[in-house]
Subunit: 214 residues, 2 copies
């Protein structure tokens, strides 16, 4: 398998964690989102992914895009260890936790939105950080309540095994720190992050460990 990736992209980070948890070997092809106007916009990459986004996964001569679709694919092709619980309502709960990050936080504080705010709406760097932290805070607060209200208590977002929810949470917390958000109000989420960091699948996927890290 070949992963088109950027060390700092949190969607790429999610897929790296999932591949590691499944114990799958993969080759990394770095696509630098900030170099020379963005390598994701080069026609050779847009032929691979017309969305001009990372990650993209090549497996069995098919190109797959969108991190959550890639992870669901890995879950279906390589079911062990599972990244979702067995019960349908529990699966929906874990997926909803993942989607709080993937739909309610990350897209709004993603690089291209910040670039638009800066270039088209003349927002300062300080305004951008305030913007990012506003949406991160709203989403993490909802996630924190969802985790706390869930039917299981455990080391991770759902129970005692890492799931798709943790895969989305950990990169989002790293992002939050880059914007200087206050995470001390989410002790439960920080405990989960610590439990994840103790697993090599998570630790090895961290941005600073990647071959394209700066």
């Amino acid at each position: 398998m070949k992963l088109y990736t950027f060390f700092r992209s949190s969607a790429s980070y999610r897929v790296r964690i999932a591949l590691n948890l499944k114990g799958l070997a993969y080759e990394q092809v770095p696509i630098h989102l900030r170099r020379a106007g963005g390598e994701q916009f080069v026609s050779s990459y847009k032929a691979i992914n017309p969305q001009a986004l990372v990650p993209a996964l090549e497996d069995d001569r098919r190109i797959l895009t969108q991190s959550l679709a890639i992870i669901e694919y890995l879950e279906e092709r390589f079911p062990k260890p599972p990244l979702l619980p067995a019960d349908p309502a529990d699966r929906a709960l874990v997926r909803s936790m993942a989607l709080i990050v993937a739909c309610e936080i990350h897209p709004i504080q993603n690089l291209r939105v910040l670039v638009y705010l800066k270039n088209n709406l003349q927002q300062s760097d300080e305004d951008l950080n305030r913007w990012a932290c506003h949406w991160i805070d709203l989403g993490l607060s909802a996630l924190d309540q969802t985790v706390t209200a869930g039917p299981t208590r455990g080391k991770f977002c759902f129970g005692d095994m890492p799931t798709l929810a943790d895969i989305c949470l950990v990169p989002q917390l790293a992002n939050a720190r880059r914007f200087g958000c206050d995470l001390s109000v989410y002790p439960k989420l920080l405990q989960i992050e610590t439990a994840c960091a103790a697993l090599s699948a998570f630790a090895d996927a961290a941005p600073e460990k990647q071959p394209d890290a700066e």
Copy 2:
């Protein structure tokens, strides 16, 4: 089943289509997002969904949130007719089409982001429409290319049966029209919309047909 919904919410619209395609009966509980500061922020609703978002689905005494998690749940509990193809790579393709809408477009032009742009960044209504159309155009263009480049040609986004991708596309096109975006550049997506509108599952889920429509 009980669906907490708002007629104009495109995430609610997705779930209504999915419930209709599965032939499932459900009771609607309207949550008015624009009345009295937003009924989604009232404590009785936040007890149901701490995210203060619609939709939420109550089934079998569990509350499920996030439209895509709800639809995956319906797919697992009521597999016929399927909303995803059988092959894992095809499933990933359909999910990636849905996520282009659910992650790359909708969150960025969603009501609460527009409210923030207006109230906190003093953007005019014209600026808000320009903002919305910018992200809609970027996402629909990617979706159009993904559909066109896909391995199957058919009436819908993937083949000749409606899938999760169409369920996300149709409400997004309705949203795009509200912002005055030019959709004539996406003839394939408009053809798919016409094919969907011919199905009662889609037609009956339209905002203007809902009991809380204004």
